[in-house]
C-alpha cells in the first residue's frame, strides 16, 4: 500500500468527541500515523505478521494503520473507556480485529519499603506480556499536564516489547531521551522530525492551530546475550 493511500484511509478514523485535558488527549493525525506505520512496515518489517501493542491507544488510529499493513494481533491499552469505545467503533468500521485493556500506564512502581514489600508488583497487569508483543506503538502524552509521563510510557513500552518500540516525542526532549535510551541499553534512532498540527482542541489554546516539532523515534532492543554458551 502506498503512503498516500494509507493516509487517505486513516482520514476516516473517528477522533475524541470530548477530549480530556488531564489525559492530554490529542488525536494522532492521519498524517503522522501513516508515516509512522509506513516506515515501521517498509523500512524495518516490524508490522506484518507481528503482535503489536498500542500504548495510550486513544481512538486506535495507530493500530488500525498497523492492521491495514498486515499485523497479526493488535492490543490497545488505555485508561479512558470513552476513548476505547470510539476505538472499538473505528475497528468495526475498518474491519480490524483489536483487543483493548482498560489500564493505567502512568502508574509508577511504588517505592519499596524497608523489607521490599510492594516493590515487585506495581508494574501493572501486563508483566506476563513481556517479550510477547513484537512491536509497541505509542503517541504518549507529552507530559505537559503530568510531568515525566512520556518517559513512564516509553520505559514500560521498552520493557514489554520483544523487539521494537515506535514513539512520538517533542523534539525539545530529544537529548534527554537519547541519554535515557543509552542508560536502558536500547538503540534509539531519530527516524524523522515531523510537524504535529494540533487544531484548537482546548480552550487554553490561544491560537486556532499550533504546529509543534515532534521526533518520530524508533527503539530497538539488542538481542539478548546468548545464555546457552558458557
Amino acid at each position: 500500500m502506498r503512503l498516500k493511500e494509507l493516509e487517505g484511509y486513516l482520514q476516516d478514523v473517528a477522533v475524541f468527541e470530548e477530549p480530556k485535558i488531564k489525559l492530554e488527549q490529542y488525536p494522532t493525525t492521519a498524517h503522522l500515523a501513516a508515516r509512522m506505520l509506513y516506515t515501521a512496515h517498509n523500512t524495518y518489517d516490524d508490522i506484518e505478521n507481528k503482535a503489536v501493542g498500542d500504548f495510550g491507544c486513544g481512538c486506535g488510529i495507530l493500530s488500525i494503520a498497523a492492521a491495514m499493513l498486515g499485523s497479526a494481533y493488535n492490543v490497545g491499552f488505555d485508561i479512558d473507556p470513552d476513548a476505547i469505545a470510539i476505538a472499538q467503533e473505528n475497528c468495526e468500521q475498518f474491519e480490524v480485529e483489536m483487543d483493548f485493556i482498560l489500564t493505567d500506564l502512568s502508574a509508577t512502581p511504588a517505592p519499596s519499603n524497608a523489607d521490599g514489600e510492594g516493590a515487585s508488583n506495581s508494574r501493572g497487569p501486563y508483566e506476563m506480556m513481556k517479550g510477547k508483543l513484537d512491536t509497541i506503538l505509542m503517541n504518549p502524552p507529552f507530559g505537559t499536564k503530568l510531568k515525566g509521563i512520556d518517559m513512564v510510557f516509553l520505559k514500560k513500552g521498552i520493557d514489554l516489547a520483544n523487539h521494537a518500540v515506535y514513539s512520538l516525542h517533542k523534539t525539545s526532549t530529544r537529548e534527554h531521551i537519547l541519554k535515557k535510551a543509552k542508560e536502558w541499553g536500547v538503540e534509539c534512532e531519530v527516524v524523522a522530525e515531523l510537524r504535529y498540527n494540533l487544531d484548537k482542541s482546548y480552550k487554553f489554546h490561544k491560537k486556532q492551530s499550533l504546529d509543534i516539532a515532534v521526533d518520530f523515534l524508533r527503539f530497538e532492543k539488542k538481542p539478548r546475550p546468548d545464555t546457552t554458551s558458557p
Partner: protein, 123 residues
C-alpha cells in the same frame, strides 16, 4: 477480548505476587468470530503462549479440543494450528469476571474489555 489476551494478563493488586495467573473466568459470555488464519504468526506465538494456563482456562470453559501438552511438532501440525487459531484468536470473551486465584480480586469484563484498573489502595 480474545483468549490470547487473557493468556497474558495477571493480577497486580499490591502484595499479590504469587499464584496470580491465570485469572479464573466466571460467568463469561463467549462469542466465536471467524478470523483469517495466519500460520506464521501462530508459529511465532508458540513459544510465547502460557500453554498450560491456556489449556486449564479452556477446560473450565468446556473447550476441550486442545491437547494437554503442546505437541512436539506443533509448528508444522496443521490440524493443531487450526485448533489453536480457533481457540486463541476466534474465541472472544464478551463479558464476565476474571478472578485472581491468589487474592480473589475480581476484574470485570464488559463489552469485551477487561477492566484492569485498581483503586488507589490496591496499587
Amino acid at each position: 477480548m480474545r483468549l490470547i489476551t487473557h493468556n497474558m494478563l495477571q493480577c497486580h493488586v499490591k502484595g499479590c505476587n504469587a499464584n496470580n495467573f491465570p485469572l479464573e473466568l466466571q460467568e463469561v459470555v463467549l462469542e466465536q468470530e471467524e478470523a483469517e488464519l495466519n500460520e506464521d504468526f501462530l508459529r511465532n506465538m508458540l513459544g510465547k503462549l502460557e500453554y498450560e494456563a491456556l489449556v486449564a482456562t479452556c477446560l473450565k470453559l468446556d473447550i476441550n479440543d486442545l491437547p494437554a501438552t503442546l505437541p512436539a511438532d506443533a509448528a508444522y501440525n496443521d490440524e493443531f494450528l487450526q485448533i489453536l487459531h480457533r481457540v486463541i484468536l476466534e474465541t472472544h470473551i464478551k463479558s464476565g469476571k476474571m478472578i485472581c486465584p491468589n487474592c480473589q480480586h475480581i476484574y470485570n469484563v464488559r463489552d469485551g474489555i477487561p477492566n484492569m484498573l485498581l483503586a488507589e489502595h490496591e496499587v
